[in-house]
């Protein structure tokens, strides 16, 4: 028996072709197995997860003091950034694969930001993951992206932001949608809001 160089498909040598039917059966079964493996791969691509969570409009009110950041939806004032770990305000990755993801947030509020008054709002995609620190081998929680976002300070009533990110440890990873109030303190009513994430593909290692 001989085998092809790359995919190791069997084929008979001349001296054993007398047993050709058995050899061809082995070849067919090898092809069958390889095609099944390919099918699994394509199925995984076609089933790339997309996650979307929405905020219920009109029900949620966001309150915060000047220059503070709160989870959405979350009416509880956060005295400092990144202290909240509430699962109700996040997308949990424990049922999704590790890999490269893209995600974003969108938030509409009422009242709108006032023109040129500094009544701005920053919306933030906060990604928390646990990865091995390069060079140390130590496993640490890492906030992959923060202090980011777009603002609504010119009379607009929505903010949005998106970014790619990498998830290394899905069981210990989540993303949150957060809002930073500007220099005007007020209670805001959510008119629309969602946070989303879609799977791009595998990590390098």
């Amino acid at each position: 028996m001989e085998y092809t160089s790359s995919q190791s498909l069997p084929y008979p040598e001349p001296e054993d072709f007398a047993n050709g039917s058995q050899q061809l059966k082995m070849l067919a079964e090898a092809i069958d197995l390889r095609l099944s493996i390919l099918d699994l791969g394509y199925d995984a691509i076609l089933a790339r997860p997309v996650v979307l969570k929405t905020v219920t409009p009109g029900v949620q009110t966001i309150s915060a003091s000047i220059n503070t950041t709160v989870n959405i939806p979350n009416t509880t004032f956060q005295s400092s950034e990144f202290t909240a770990q509430s699962s109700s305000t996040s997308i949990d990755f424990s049922s999704y694969p590790a890999g490269i993801w893209m995600g974003g947030v969108y938030l509409g509020t009422n009242p709108v930001g006032a023109v040129n008054t500094g009544n701005h709002r920053n919306v933030t995609l906060r990604v928390v993951d646990r990865r091995i620190q390069p060079g140390t081998g130590v496993s640490v929680y890492e906030e992959l992206w923060d202090e980011s976002g777009c603002q609504s300070n010119t009379g607009g009533d929505f903010t949005t932001f998106s970014q790619t990110f990498e998830i290394h440890d899905p069981d210990n990873a989540f993303i949150q949608m957060r809002l930073h109030h500007g220099n005007v303190s007020s209670a805001l009513s959510v008119t629309a809001g969602f946070v989303w994430a879609l799977y791009i593909g595998e990590l390098a290692n």
Binding site: P14, L27, A204
Partner: protein, 189 residues
């Protein structure tokens, strides 16, 4: 002449073929299928592990000629980044349609006087250029941009980098945090 299938040109034996040609035809069949599977594997591999890289600024530093200098490679699936040689850029490794995006923040807060920052995700050749200007006010200090471009060859002139420009074309003295990413999305149309 050995018969082959119409679409994938897989050779097969017919009754008119001499029996002694059987091993050779079977070998040709197996090797043709082998090559076809290799092609499929390569396509599937690209879908499963896309050509993608992301780089970040983790230690605040000024821009250099408006370009953002990156200090950390977050992810690189296809050797697109070598920050030791070029700390500004991601290099595409194949022709195609690429997407990239930048988000950057400064340490210095605005003064509420309508300062602006402009972030630009750039393709250095054949660019579909995208930038974004955001008014800077108290405690708002971040800006982002998104871009798509066609890469026609992979010489060094085809690279992707990013700029951050302050009000009136001023250099940004302190890039507090930034992240720049690129992803090969598809073949050229």
């Amino acid at each position: 002449m050995v018969a082959v299938t119409a679409t994938w040109e897989i050779p097969y034996a017919q009754s008119i073929d001499p029996f002694c040609d059987g091993p050779e035809i079977t070998q040709a069949l197996a090797e043709r299928v082998d090559a076809l599977l290799d092609t499929q594997d390569a396509a599937l591999g690209l879908l499963q592990r896309p050509q993608y890289a992301s780089i970040s600024v983790t230690t605040p530093a000024p821009t250099e000629s408006f370009r953002i200098r990156y200090d950390t490679t977050d992810e690189d699936t296809a050797n697109l980044v070598d920050l030791a040689l070029d700390p500004f850029s991601i290099y595409p490794d194949s022709v195609g349609l690429w997407l990239n995006g930048i988000h950057a923040a400064t340490s210095t807060l605005g003064l509420g006087t309508n300062e602006t920052w402009e972030a630009v995700a750039t393709f250095s050749a054949n660019t579909i250029y995208a930038g974004q200007t955001i008014r800077e006010e108290l405690n708002v200090r971040s800006v982002g941009a998104f871009s798509a471009g066609q890469i026609f060859d992979t010489t060094d002139s085809y690279r992707m980098d990013s700029n951050l420009v302050g009000s009136g074309g001023l250099l940004v003295s302190d890039v507090y945090k930034a992240r720049f990413w690129a992803w090969r999305y598809s073949d050229l149309p």
